[in-house]
Amino acid sequence: MSQSYDQAGSVTQSEAEIEKRVRSVIAEMFHLSPQEAEGQLGMGNPAGWDSLGHMELVIQLEKEFGVTFPNFVLADLVSVPAIVRAVRDSSASA
């Protein structure tokens, strides 16, 4: 586990760890095989990740990481790197 402690003493996760968990949530949500989950993921790929699936995914991600994304960020969470960035930022500001 690549965890470290920030100045306040709370556990912070590395981006690789966040990405792994994000991919796992996406895979579970859209029933992807491990190989598919490792590939290029984004809105439209897998097919279930459309505007309807997007909000369901956002809610699952918030549950998984215990964060609340600001409303105006929701539309930007269309790829794994964008989600990782948002999780990192939300965790930092929490």
């Binding site: 459309d50 309807l52 909000m55 809610i59 409303n71 105006f72 929701l74 539309a75």
Partner: protein, 386 residues
């Protein structure tokens, strides 16, 4: 249909693009600004002053708000709330103005015609996205020059929508070397030819429609009406505007401005959600990003209610009259049915044959979309008789 194509705008874009490519002294901010303002003056004529002033008022509001809320985290919420309040005020003014058709009566204040605001759906959308992006902190205090070029640029006056943040991120377009490089390529020429071909096909179909119904609809065989409603009219509309927006994308590259795509083969999509995801995408994305992606709208019943509200607003954006309200509500009901079907299928409450749905889905979606253009006038006719 043909009459509604902004031919003047196409010519202005073509000429301004050619000027920028030909004369290096125009390839700077002041050059782009002069060309943009000239374009606005030619497109809007007597309404141009009102157009510019509306934008100036919004910019002044945003600039003042930026100063008040600068360098303070606590004041970010204040900025968001005031931006939302201004946004709602703009939308309400637009809808009320359209509902009472003030453009036909005129709204002369201080010798300036202000009625434009109530009819210019793209101006409204631009300002809404601008206020939203400013309120959310996506854009900082905008510069007057950048804002003026963005809002007056001829390539986006009648759509498609280029959000301020998207435009701002392209600002290095003022670098001389970049200008014209994108244009002298085979891809650009092919895209411009494709856009022109789409436009010509759309206009030809539109002419065909006009010829068929030159002496009214009475006496026209039923099968011709059917062919028109489910073939000629929808395709003429799609091809015309697809071609027009694609042409704008090509011409904007003459200024090295990259516009997002507007249409992506929306007919033939397997469901209504896919249709909307590929129809007039720059406008659709605003409603999706700002209204659909909300937590409130995702809770059980709210999902359906929120969908109906969104399509009601989409209808009002097209036109504040009963035709567009009914059109929006029909799409909203269709979309709700799709959400319900999707949820039931996901929870395996019923099984569907994949192969059958692959064939039936696009047909049903196409027939539904075409019906939504025909039904409102029929419904209004029936209601009128009652």
């Amino acid at each position: 249909m043909f009459e509604s194509i902004p031919i003047v705008q196409i010519l202005i874009c073509l000429i301004s693009g050619a000027l920028v490519i030909s004369f290096s002294f125009l390839r700077r901010a002041s050059g782009f600004l002069v060309l943009s303002l000239l374009g606005i003056a030619l497109v809007y004529r007597q309404l141009a002053v009102g157009y510019v002033l509306i934008n100036v008022i919004v910019l002044l509001f945003v600039t003042s708000l930026a100063r008040i809320t600068a360098n303070s985290d606590a004041k970010r919420r204040l900025r968001w709330r005031w931006s939302c309040a201004a946004l709602i005020a703009l939308v309400v003014a637009f809808i009320v103005g359209r509902w009472y058709q003030i453009e036909t009566k005129g709204l002369l204040v201080g010798g300036i015609e202000w009625s434009l605001f109530s009819v210019d759906m793209w101006l409204l959308l631009r300002l809404v996205t601008f206020l939203w992006e400013f309120g959310s902190g996506r854009i900082a205090q905008p510069s007057l020059l950048t804002f003026a070029i963005w809002t007056c640029m001829p390539f986006t006056v009648f759509g498609p929508l280029l959000r301020y943040s998207q435009f701002e991120s392209q600002l290095p377009f003022m670098r001389e070397a970049e200008v014209a490089r994108a244009v002298y390529t085979r891809t650009w020429v092919l895209n411009a030819l494709r856009a022109t071909a789409l436009l010509v096909c759309g206009i030809t179909l539109s002419r065909l429609h006009a010829t068929m119904f030159a002496s009214g609809t009475q006496g026209v065989p039923y099968w011709i009406k059917l062919l028109d409603s489910f073939g000629i009219s929808p395709w003429s509309f799609l091809l015309t505007w697809w071609g027009f927006y694609k042409l704008m994308e090509c011409l904007a590259l003459m200024w090295s401005v990259s516009l997002p795509p507007s249409f992506n083969a929306p007919f033939g999509r397997p469901n209504i959600s896919e249709f909307w995801a590929n129809w007039n995408m720059t406008a659709t994305s605003v409603f999706r990003d700002y209204l659909f992606y909300t937590r409130w709208g995702q809770q059980r019943v709210n999902l359906y209610l929120n969908t109906l509200i969104i399509f009601f607003l989409v209808g009002l954006w097209h036109g504040a009259n009963w035709y567009w309200v009914i059109w929006g509500m029909l799409h909203g009901i269709g979309f709700c049915c799709f959400i319900w079907y999707r949820h039931r299928r996901a929870s395996k409450q019923f099984e569907t044959n994949g192969a059958t749905m692959r064939i039936l889905g696009p047909i049903l979606t196409y027939v539904f979309v075409c019906s939504c253009w025909i039904l409102p006038s029929r419904i209004l006719k029936v209601l009128g008789q009652i």
